[in-house]
């Protein structure tokens, strides 16, 4: 078993290598990596709910969407957030995500399992409906175009500069979520995931725990939205559409739920296949579909489950898991 510190070290080295290598490649790769990192923050927020609290949210695009629309509306209607006030927009995006999640949470947290999934889906669609139909504010189907990125001494119009900024946000989010899930609060979330009734008997207010986790996830969703809006300078109902939520869930499952890093790896792989492979070959969707199917058949723990699976096979300790690894059920 690799110790926790070594794992952290590996992640840190990977991140630094990523930040070093990507800017050296073509500017399109830089843009893709920037988009993937902004989206990875959303995927990690989903992981907080799915992997650590055991709630599969199908409406995470809602917080992502309000963050993105907030940025776009402020920038185009009020010329706000294109200078140093970009940081204010970041804070507002996080707060708006939290606020919306605290509202939606009141409805959603009452239910569990598939009901939670359906309620979050419905609430997410409400936000999509607003984006689609509130023409005067959101531009409806046509969406909103922003002109350029913020410039506050640091010109984010430069793809590489913007890459580093999003990288910083990504790294900080990863660390913040990591600290969160290892805190007492995070441990009790895991307890709720494993057996909610037992936590209740132990005297924990599980509803409040889940509610707070939901709000925190909403905040990270809002942050991801603010950054996402600036990656392409375009926000449309497609940003808030159901597939955005589904994608973020799939990315988490692909990378491995309950690992945070897995969410980021899942995002990287999906972006790599969908936005990079699709520029090379027309059959990219088969590759993406194949990856999903193979992961679910052979790696129910996601890609982050590979090392433990590998260990089990070499040491042969766990016969049951070994069978599962070689024979799909």
């Amino acid at each position: 078993m690799i110790s926790q510190n070594v794992k952290i070290l590996i992640v840190a080295v990977c991140l630094l290598a990523f930040a070093y290598i990507v800017p050296q490649s073509g500017s399109f790769v830089v843009l893709l990596a920037t988009r993937a990192m902004a989206f990875a923050i959303l995927a990690m927020s989903v992981d907080l709910l799915l992997g650590f609290t055991g709630m599969s949210s199908m409406g995470q695009a809602a917080y992502f969407g309000v963050g993105a629309y907030l940025t776009a509306v402020l920038a185009t209607k009020f010329h706000f957030g294109m200078g140093w006030d970009f940081w204010l927009v970041v804070v507002m995006g996080i707060l708006l995500g939290c606020a919306l999640a605290s509202l939606f949470g009141l409805f959603a947290i009452r239910a569990g399992g598939v009901y939670f999934l359906m309620i979050t889906l419905a609430l997410g669609q409400c936000v999509w409906g607003l984006a689609y139909r509130w023409n005067s504010l959101t531009g409806g189907d046509n969406g909103i175009n922003m002109s350029g990125r913020p410039n506050f001494g640091l010109d984010l119009g430069n793809e590489v500069t913007f890459f580093y900024l999003v990288f910083a946000f990504f790294a900080v989010s990863l660390i913040a979520l990591f600290v969160l899930v290892r805190s007492t609060f995070g441990r009790s979330l895991a307890g709720i995931r494993e057996r909610e009734l037992r936590m209740q008997i132990l005297g924990y207010n599980t509803w409040l725990h889940k509610y707070i986790a939901f709000i925190i996830a909403g905040g990270f969703g809002g942050l991801a939205g603010v950054l996402w809006a600036h990656t392409n300078g375009h926000v449309s109902p497609e940003t808030v559409v159901l597939t955005t939520s589904v994608d973020s869930l799939l990315m988490v499952v692909l990378g491995g739920a309950g690992t945070l890093v897995g969410a980021a790896i899942g995002t990287a792989i999906v972006f790599g296949l969908r936005e990079f492979l699709s520029t090379l070959v027309p059959w990219w969707q088969y590759a993406l579909g194949g990856v999903y199917v193979l992961t679910i058949l052979y790696l129910p723990m996601g890609l982050m489950g590979i090392p433990s699976r590998f260990r089990q096979r070499t040491q042969g300790k766990d016969e049951g898991a070994k069978k599962l690894a070689t024979k799909p059920s």
Partner: protein
Amino acid sequence: MLKKTLLGTALAAGLGLAIPAQADELRIGFISPTTGLYAQIGKDMVDGFQLYLDEHGGKLGGADVKLIVEDDQGKPDTGVTKAKKLILQDKVNLFVGGLLASTGYALAPVSTAEKVIYLSSVSSADDLTQRQLDKYPYFLRTSWTSSLPNHPLGQWACDQGYKKVITIAADYAFGYESVGGFQKAFEDCGGKVVQKIWPPLGTKDFGPFIPTMKADADAIFTVMVGPMALQFPKQLRGAGNKKPIVGSGVSYDEFVLPFMGDEVIGDVSSLHYSAGIQTPENEKFVKAYRAKYGKMPGYYSENNYTTAMWIDEAMKQAGGKWPGPEQFIKLMQGIKLNAPRGPVSMDDMRNPIENVYIKKVAKTKLFGYDKEELWNTTVKVYPNVSQFWTYGKDKFLAQPVYDRDFPPCKFCE
């Protein structure tokens, strides 16, 4: 895991290297949805462009063409990413395509930011070549504005003596702009739009909408997109409603027409193209397209075929060398073409001036094909229609862009 990540990024870095452009090569990026809901339309777009290229030995105006097709999946946001890929990595001279109006709105700013020509070959969002044109100096259009063919249709419907019309249109910007154009011209001529119905985009069951249609209307104006087009006439006639239909051309485009039943015979629509236009240019195009791809070309194909033709002419005038974006726009604006759709040229707002065909679906034999098929036969041609119809540029631009609530429905109650 470390090794894997490093390998992945190294691979990405290696593939991401820009390919240097060759000297006399014209690099064209082509953005269309080749997967997803609009995949078939996306393919028709590419086929139209490719047909012209193949007919001319892969050259436009003497320059070898490198055509790079990118899939935007019908999502504006993905379209932007793909456009940036084409510009930053493939170093294209210009990019073409974009199906949905929303994609057009998303791609135009990319052309401004990167100073690369965006030639919109299908996307018809009105305002791009109207009130917002100043924002997009590198944008030009070879297709149409949504309202362009619907102004003449409004006039035509009025001339037929229709007094009251119901509109039923897909609930998004393209629908609003199409209805707006029709309503404006129809009501200016003395007609009345008495009811506007907006089924959501992608509706396949019109059961909830058909019974609400007012009984005293003389005709129905429709804007049906994709699968909606196939279902609506069937269900309307099935419900016993026999009112004449005058519709946007997309409701009866050749993209769906061959799959429709005989109930659509006699339905009228208007567009800047019909596969049934009986000119030698169109006959040649239709035959070549059918021989190569085994299906009828619709306006998605024709628009892109003509776009290639337009670029060809501009490149010829530039002597086979890419003249740079500013000069290219000037050349494009000076060209008059005899395209399959008829004579086309470009107005000073960089939108085409073209014929509008009022067409009626008929079962007949055309161009020497030995089978009876459904064709959009021309009833009336409005020649050289501009996006401003007869209103004049300044007066037209003074009113807001057509929307769900503009023009207001004065005669609805």
